[in-house]
Amino acid sequence: MIQLPLLNVRDLTVEFSTRRGIVRAVRNIDISIGKGETLGIVGESGSGKSVTSYAVMRILDRAGQIAGGSIHFAGLDLRAASERQMVDLRGREMSMIFQNPRAALNPIRRIGHQIEDVLRQHAQAGSADAREKAIEALRDVRISRPEERYSAYPFELSGGMCQRVVIALALACRPKLLIADEPTTGLDVTTQKAVMDLILELTRARGMSTILITHDLGLAATYCSRVVVMEKGEVVETASAAEIFAAPRHAYTRKLMRATPRPGIGLRDLLPDENRAGEALPASAPGAPLLTVSALVKEYPRAEAGLFSRFMKPDAAGAQPFRAVDGIGFDIKRGESLGLVGESGCGKSTTSMMLMRLIDPTAGSIIFDGEDIGSIPARDFARHPMRKRIQMVFQDPTDSLNPRYSAARAIADPLLRLGACEPRTLRARVEELASLVGLPGDLLDRFPHQLSGGQKARVGIARAIALNPSLVVLDEPTAALDVSVQALVLNLLADLKAALGMSYLFVSHDLHVVRLICDRVIVMRAGRIIEQGRAADVLDHPKADYTKELIAALPHPPAQPAAR
């Protein structure tokens, strides 16, 4: 017997009216999900995956409207449903959880009350048992001491805890369908695993259907039975998770699948065939140490003590300062690429800022090419001859470019300030750098807002290598980019390193990426080094429990792709 799908989207088109006219965010898409099924919707930014889910929930903002097609939920035509019917459906029959859990909760209302609001709205609880049921909902999502947490405000909880509350809110009325829109983006990998496992466990136990919306093909393939791939507002492929990885049919899926970093491949494998440079990457042969860090410490004073609180509590001045980096030591060899990984708050960014000499260490030494640069105050380092030898590529390509500088001006800045570069040859040098990083020359006179994310990343890289530095610190250089762009940028970075003989310190939270680009890797946690060694050794045979935990938390897609 053929069972009717729980949700059936046919030929859906969603339009937004903007200042530049009507934009079709979603065009003629078909999606269906059966009872108890877990469906992944995967796409890069602008693919229309979130808009689709908003349309299903009928919570598009005022500029957007469903222009065509049909949406049926459990036999009910949602396009024709009244707003009143929709209010009844939302939260009771179908729920949604969002990215950035902390922002998803009302900041000035106790979390218990927020859950009660939903329970009462849908008549699942009266004033007598609302509190009890809210606590029950908290307990269901494994929040410890739920009676206490009931009265907590969102700002008193961690990000992972907030996401649990959001899940409790969404599942409180036991709906039939849960739509999770990037539920783990921005969370650490171990928290991501905990949250995803929780969602899956609860929805399975209740026989619910789940739609997981994500940019991460690996995540979708790990947790979903079926995957829908979207590109530019259209569905390009629908297949089982195993099939998507083993035999992607559509060119875009192939490209996306290829670009997703995963174990067992090389850097070049990320690229689509037509982009693949002929030559293989030369193996790097690290030489003598370029940078040696020992016993490095960075302390920050505890939460800002105001004049009056100090005045009223004199003993507060004796509070222990917070140690962001707690006595670490390592070295980077010439021509080597060292990965620095860890979850948020582990001290990896503080470490890189100290190496960059943007902030001063509390104790310890940073020996760069025989000179202790750690003892030179960050304030004076701008004028130090070593400045040009250590450069950096920043995390957010948009934020790292002065909006008032053209691409050419941005690349020229270090040359003008530090470079021994003749004004006459400046333009030629900038053009040379642009071609090195694969930035078309005609884009040089554009301003940041006229460039794409990948192009801005290239400008940032060109600026960093303009002075032929010996060491480049890469601070999550691809975290803000779509995977297909990330693939290109990672390959570019590897090529540049080989061509210019630089060393890299690659700061990242993404172990798959680190495996592809780094020779050695350091794992940090709470300001200390947990484990270090050759990248392949650490990632394939981790020794420390924490490293094992990190690796276990990575999404593991069901089937590995064929090597070619």
Partner: protein
């Protein structure tokens, strides 16, 4: 290099964006026309008015508006229209000078406070807090009363009471950008802190400060007119909108409405014009903050 064709193209792009915004927003276009009229009156006013704004005519006192006297005449028989037009220069001048003064001092102090932090920040913050501890118009009254009853002191007082506003806007914008990637990148490129403040911070804050300037122009005009309404700063017989409304206030109860109405309308129109331009500029500078 910095004058490459790209910069020219960028200026053209900004202009065309401005034209796009204005063409899509007739209100802003109207405000700019109004500004043109105000500036015309301020520059040429004294030469184009039909009567001498100071000349009294005892034969024609308190005449209602007519073809000869468009806005009527006052108790001394002076032509209200001529006085309203002639007053434009003084009212605008007070506003322009005070805004320029506070832009220079408040803006720079705010940038220094936001970018350098530490003691600079504390001192600027303390000054701003102290000024903000007063109701602003009341403080302006106190300053003009203490410094002396002159137009210059009105300008100074208006600048002082606007200081916290400018310092705070500039401070917030500067401190947001202090840790921005492009500022750190400028440090890595070997720029000195002062140079970063001038090349990376200031140009990026300027548009927001321009909006602020336009919005405070209206407030400065209101403030100066309010001070002269209660008898501070501008002295009779000098034509000024605030004082003219004050002179006409006594005649309102006896029905001579034109004495207060026309200078009051001129005042309102000028303030309205700057507020509209401020809102329009905000749309150009920061489309997200449209309200």
């Amino acid at each position: 290099m910095s004058r490459s064709p790209g910069t020219g193209a960028a200026i053209l792009a900004t202009l065309s964006h401005a034209r796009y915004v204005i063409s899509g927003n007739p209100v802003t276009a109207f405000a700019f026309m109004l500004l043109g009229l105000l500036l015309f009156c301020a520059v040429f006013g004294p030469w184009i008015v039909p009567f001498d704004p100071l000349a009294s005519d005892t034969a024609a006192t308190l005449k209602a508006p007519s073809l000869r006297h468009w806005f009527g005449t006052d108790a001394l028989g002076r032509d209200v229209f001529s006085r309203v037009v002639a007053a434009t220069r003084l009212d605008l001048a007070i506003a322009v000078f005070s805004v320029a003064l506070v832009f220079a001092f408040g803006g720079l102090a705010g940038i220094a406070a936001g970018f350098f932090g530490g003691w600079t920040d504390r001192i600027v913050g303390r000054i701003a807090d102290t000024i903000m501890a007063f109701p602003l118009f009341v403080l302006a009254m106190g300053i003009v009363a203490a410094l002396g009853n002159t137009v210059t002191n009105i300008v100074i007082a208006t600048a002082i009471i606007n200081f916290p506003l400018y310092a705070r806007v500039a401070r917030t914008e500067a401190s947001v950008r202090r840790e921005a990637g492009f500022v750190m990148a400028a440090r890595l490129s070997g720029n000195s802190e002062l140079r970063i403040a001038l090349t990376s911070i200031l140009p990026n804050i300027l548009p927001i400060m321009m909006v602020q300037m336009s919005l405070t122009m209206g407030y400065a005009i209101l403030n100066a007119a309010g001070l002269s309404f209660i008898g501070l700063g501008v002295r009779p017989p000098m034509p000024e909108w605030g004082i003219m409304v004050a002179e006409g206030a006594g005649s309102i109860i006896s029905g001579e409405w034109w004495l207060a109405l026309f200078p009051g309308l001129a005042l309102m129109l000028a303030v309205f014009c700057f507020n509209l331009i401020g809102d329009g500029l905000r749309d150009i500078v920061d489309p997200q903050r449209r309200t």
